[in-house]
Structure formats: structure tokens, C-alpha cells
Amino acid sequence: MAHHNQSPSEMVKKLGWLHKVLAEESDTTEKEMTDFVKQQEIISGRDPEISEEEYFINMGPQHPSTHGVLRLMVSLKGEIVQNIKPHVGYVHRGIEKMTEKMTYKQIIHLTDRLDYLSSTINNHAVCLAVENGLEVEIPERVKYVRTIIDELIRIASHQLWWGVMGMDLGALTAYFYGFRDREKVIDVLEKNTGARLLHSYYTPGGLMRDIHADFQKDIKEYIKYQRNLMNEYDDLLSNNVIFRERTEGLGIMTREEAIAYGVTGPSGRASNFACDVRKQHPYAAYDKADFKQILYTGGDSFHRYKARLDEIKESMNIIEQLVDNIPEGSYTAKMKAVLKLPEGTYFQRVEAARGELGVYVISKGDKVPYRMKFRSPNLSNLGALDKLTRNYKIADLVAIMSSLDLVIPDIDR
């Protein structure tokens, strides 16, 4: 980016031919030449009176890099970001209010629509919260299947993010490759659950139906396919010079900041904040699998990128350990037709694809919750965006936002 620091007069000097043209072939005098250069300096914002001026632009709600309807009010000096005010609520559906009139089984289908890329993980959180309240023991088979499907969803979500991050930074090829491979995961899930994106496959107490006969075979085939591709991902983006220049050392978040802002998921772990709920507060069958929490100390956009790519590999490790050991047994615990949670407060934290998702239920003993709250990982991650992008150029804002991987319907709820 060296040419940005040159003054217009230096640039004109370098362009010797222009100098010649202006001096010889026209009647331009030396004075006119200097006036021209001065004018150029004022236009380019070097005049102190102009460059000090602060102005606002609206990025979104219809901006491709916001991946949805998020409006950022960006305050700029030149092209340097002074601060950001996020405006959200364009897809606010009042899901928390709606849950107060719905039974627990109906709520499952609403939670798909929070973070639609980790849809089944959202279902899982509600199921576990309800099972906490009812104190039902769910079969081991259910725990294994749920863990495997959660990890498949996580892979699909990270693949979509990987492609889209490439696209945001101008590498459209990555987008096609990411979507090509995501399609394979979706095919596996479609065969098993009947739906491609919003599965609603879990119910309180177990699963909607037993797994497909080909489930294990398909997964093993898929993992074999995906393992060979990880090097391709590195070749396409991770080792790309332009990509690295635009992500390395940008948007640095320290561990303390990550904790204070509540930035979780791969974004938090890239800043060495050990926030993986699967490790810290194990649920389902995560205690049966041997996997490591991906932690980096860099805290910049590139390490957030690395953390997600490594998570794909780690998810495949988890699946491989569990897929052959799915215990025999029933696919659901014996549940009553109408679920009534005893009076009290219950919560369940799970690791969604973008961070910690929490479901908090206050029950008064009815078949509908008295109050249900979703702790959205994306809303907390969005809160840190202002801090992360200050004093960077507006093009870096796109890169940093992309590395946080925000999903807007989860913010708005």
C-alpha cells in the first residue's frame, strides 16, 4: 500500500511522460504546473482543513458484506474508521415473546430460525434445557447421534463461512469451493433427516426418528472426501499472499478484551480465551471423544480464520471417534405427550458454530415457559466490532467483520 503515502507532486514527478506532455506539448508554465499539483493535493484530502472533517456513511442494511440486514453507521475521517454504531432489528421477529405462548415441542421449530447455519445445535440447546428441567435420562444412542450431527452442522457452517470470507476479500473461487463441499454434508443430513437446512430433528427426550441405515457409511465416505480437501483450502486462501496481507495483524483482540466483551466461539479462542463449552461444560457425548480445544494467541483476523479451519479438522476427529461406536437402543426416551416443566429456573449452554449459545428458561409449572431467553453468541460478538475496527481503513472493516462470522437473524431474534 506504499503508493498511498506519496504526495501528488511525487507521483507527477514519477510519471515523467505526463510532465513532458504538460510542459512541452501544451503552453503550461511552471507556475500552472505547481497550481495543478496543489489542486490535486487539496482534492486528495491532504489539505488539513478538509481531512479533519468527520463524516458518516451507512454500510447496509443492503450491503453484501454484512450477509443480511445489518446496518453499520460508520464514522470516518478520510477512509479511517473512527467508530461504528450497529443498527440491528431489521429481521426482529420477537422469538422470545412468541415462546411464551408455545409449548416446548413447538419452540424447537422456532429455534432453527435463530442462527440458521447452526440450526440443529439451537434445537439441541432447547432439548437439553427441557431435559434438565424434567430430569429425564436420555439414551446413550441419542447422545452419540446428536453429537455427530452437531459436528456435521458445524463443518457445514464453517465451510460456508470459509467461502464467504474469501468472497468478501475478493477471492470468489473460494466461495464456489466452499459451497461445493458444504453440499456434501447437506446431502448426508438430508438423507437422514429429510431436510437440508432446518432439520428440527431433535425432540425433548431424543430424536424424531431413528437414523437412516446408510448414516454411518455416508459419514465415513464424506470424511474421507473432506480430509483430502483441507490442503486445497490452505492453497486457495490460507497461503494466498493477498489474503494474508489483508488479515494478518488486523483487528487484534486481546484475551482480556475477548472476555470482557463476551466474544466466544472460534473468534474468542483465537484470542486465547478458553471458552469452548464442549470442553468447559461437557454435554451430550463430548466427554466420550478425545479432542482438543483450538486456542491461538494471535487474536487477529488471520488467527480467527485459522481457528475455524482447525475446528473443521477437529470436528472430523470427533465424528470419526464416535461414528463406529453408536450404541444400540431406543432413539428416544419415554416422554409424556404434554411436557410441563416444574417451577424453577433452568439453563443450558452449548457450543454453536459461532460461540456460546445459552437457553434460559423460567417455568411456572405450565406447558409453556414463563420466560425464555436465548443468549445469542452473535450479539456479543457484534458488540466488540466497534473496538476491533477503530483506526483501520474501511476495507479492513469488511475483512474484520468477515472474520467474526456474524449471522444476523441470531442477533435480531
Partner: protein, 152 residues
């Protein structure tokens, strides 16, 4: 730190709280005028070091408006729920925790618009999701729902 040790430490170091043992998490409740100092102690005292606020939710329970704060310590790995209710429904107000936990800025705005709880000391308290001219506080239990968005 386990639950018993945490109760012991809370009794020894913090006044004006009421401790209840729930099944999943230890709960304390306090009054709004003590909240800020208590949370400050919980965060800075090395015995607690509750540095991660993992959830903040507004509630309307038993005709009282309040906020539940869920804390976790990344050093000790223990958790705590702090409950705090505003004095009255009309003028419900709590101290803002933005100076201690900068991440709650958006979360407090959400509680403000849905429950009408005023957070004193918040830098930019206005509606987050709803339009600026929205009337009433939709998550309150006595909210009149004229456009039947929920009831059918």
C-alpha cells in the same frame, strides 16, 4: 472453587446479599443500590474473579421487573447468578455495568426496550431492535398487544 467454598467466601466478603442454592447454579439476590459495588467486588476480588458475564436477561417475575446476571470466572471456573429487582414498576432503574463489562452495552439496551428498565450510567441508552417510536415494553407481562402479534 466448589459451591460450599464459594458460599463461605461470599458470606465473608460481601454484605447485603441473600444466598440461595439452586440445582444448577448458586444464586444471590441484592438491591439496586448495592449492585454496582457487589459486582465490582465479584469482578476484582481475586477470590472470585468473575470476569466473564455470560448472560444478562431481563425478567418480569412476581410483578417485579429485574435483571438476572450470570457470571463465570475463567480462572476458577465457578459460576454465579446475581438477581436484582428494581424498586417499583414505574421507575425501575438499575446501575449500568458497562464500565465493568463493556460487552453489556447492547444487552442492556435490549432489556431497556423490552422491559423499560432504566440503566443509570449507560452511555447510549435507546431502542436496539424496535423502532424509536414504539409504544410500551413488549416483554412485560402486562403488555397490551393490539396488533395480535402473538395471540391468535
Amino acid at each position: 472453587m466448589n459451591k460450599e467454598q464459594l458460599i463461605e467466601q461470599l458470606n465473608a466478603r460481601i454484605q447485603n446479599i441473600e444466598i440461595t442454592e439452586a440445582k444448577q447454579i448458586l444464586e444471590i439476590s441484592t438491591a439496586p443500590n448495592h449492585l454496582f459495588n457487589i459486582v465490582n467486588t465479584l469482578k476484582t476480588d481475586a477470590a472470585f474473579s468473575f470476569d466473564y458475564l455470560f448472560n444478562l436477561m431481563g425478567v418480569d417475575v412476581d410483578d417485579k421487573l429485574g435483571v438476572y446476571y450470570y457470571f463465570e470466572s475463567t480462572a476458577h471456573n465457578h459460576q454465579l447468578l446475581v438477581k436484582c429487582f428494581g424498586i417499583s414498576r414505574d421507575k425501575a432503574a438499575l446501575p449500568s455495568l458497562v464500565s465493568l463489562y463493556p460487552g453489556v452495552e447492547l444487552l442492556e439496551r435490549e432489556v431497556f426496550e423490552f422491559y423499560g428498565i432504566n440503566f443509570e450510567g449507560h452511555p447510549d441508552l435507546r431502542n436496539l431492535f424496535l423502532p424509536d417510536d414504539w409504544n410500551g415494553f413488549p416483554m412485560r407481562k402486562d403488555y397490551y398487544d393490539p396488533i395480535n402479534i402473538v395471540e391468535r
